[in-house]
């Protein structure tokens, strides 16, 4: 993952206190997420296999795409840390809450899922009104909405 990817992921929330990024010249990086939230049972998440959290799937897929490897350090009541264990340093960023990235990551995860299944994602919308406008414009076969209005329109490839 290049720094531009992370900036793209975080740009919507860059004004949040304590939330930001700094980039280095090297493409290797340590991706660090650290929070003092409720945490979770890592073994339980892995036991779910492909049904695990959409946000984690999104992070993992983007790291895997550039040869990285997601490592998770978390336990119930002890917060969560995420980092790229293959990193040699050079890029580091942190934020205080996992929730700001969630909507973007959820959309990206769903987009990846649908494209793997042969669907073409023709647009995304960040709220209900935009979803309606895009449906009118593109007349997609389907309009998925619901998760914090993180909307995606899609149609079958070639349809």
């Amino acid at each position: 993952m290049h720094s531009t990817d992370i900036k793209a992921l975080t740009s919507k929330h860059a004004k949040r206190p304590g939330f930001g990024s700094k980039s280095g010249e090297r493409t290797n990086f340590v991706l660090l997420h650290s929070d003092d939230g409720e945490g979770f049972d890592i073994r339980a998440v892995h036991a779910k296999g492909k049904r695990r959290g959409l946000g984690l799937i999104g992070i993992q897929e983007r790291l895997n795409a550039v040869g990285g490897n997601l490592s998770i350090n978390s336990a119930p009541g002890r917060g969560t840390k995420l980092f790229d264990s293959d990193s040699a340093g050079g890029f580091q960023w942190r934020f205080e809450s996992f929730s700001p990235m969630n909507h973007v990551l959820v959309r990206q995860s769903l987009k990846s899922l649908l494209e793997r299944e042969g669907f073409q994602v023709v647009g995304e919308a960040s709220d209900g009104n935009e979803a309606i406008r895009r449906c009118e414009r593109h007349a997609p076969g389907y309009c998925r909405d619901g998760y914090q209005h993180a909307d995606i329109e899609w149609r079958r490839s070639g349809a």
Binding site: I132, R144, H149
Partner: protein, 73 residues
């Protein structure tokens, strides 16, 4: 559907899309599994209701069920 969102919630969007884009089918992806929300979704013409926790297993199935003109709830 997140009913706490301002302006338009997922069911309202689905209801509007059914009118403004009749060929578009809507599938709700939500964390709510209460009967009330499912009933509202059915009334709005939603073709699928998928829990976020089950998205990877059920979303594609819901879409394919819609292709087959059946609903998945």
């Amino acid at each position: 559907m997140d009913i706490s969102m301002p302006i338009l919630n997922g069911v309202e969007v689905a209801r509007e899309v059914r009118v403004s884009s009749p060929k578009t089918k809507s599938i709700l992806l939500t964390q709510h599994d209460e009967r009330q929300y499912i009933s509202e979704a059915l009334e709005a013409g939603v073709k699928g209701y998928v829990l976020k926790s089950q998205a990877f297993g059920d979303l594609v199935q819901a879409i394919k069920a819609s292709f087959a003109r059946t609903a998945l709830f």
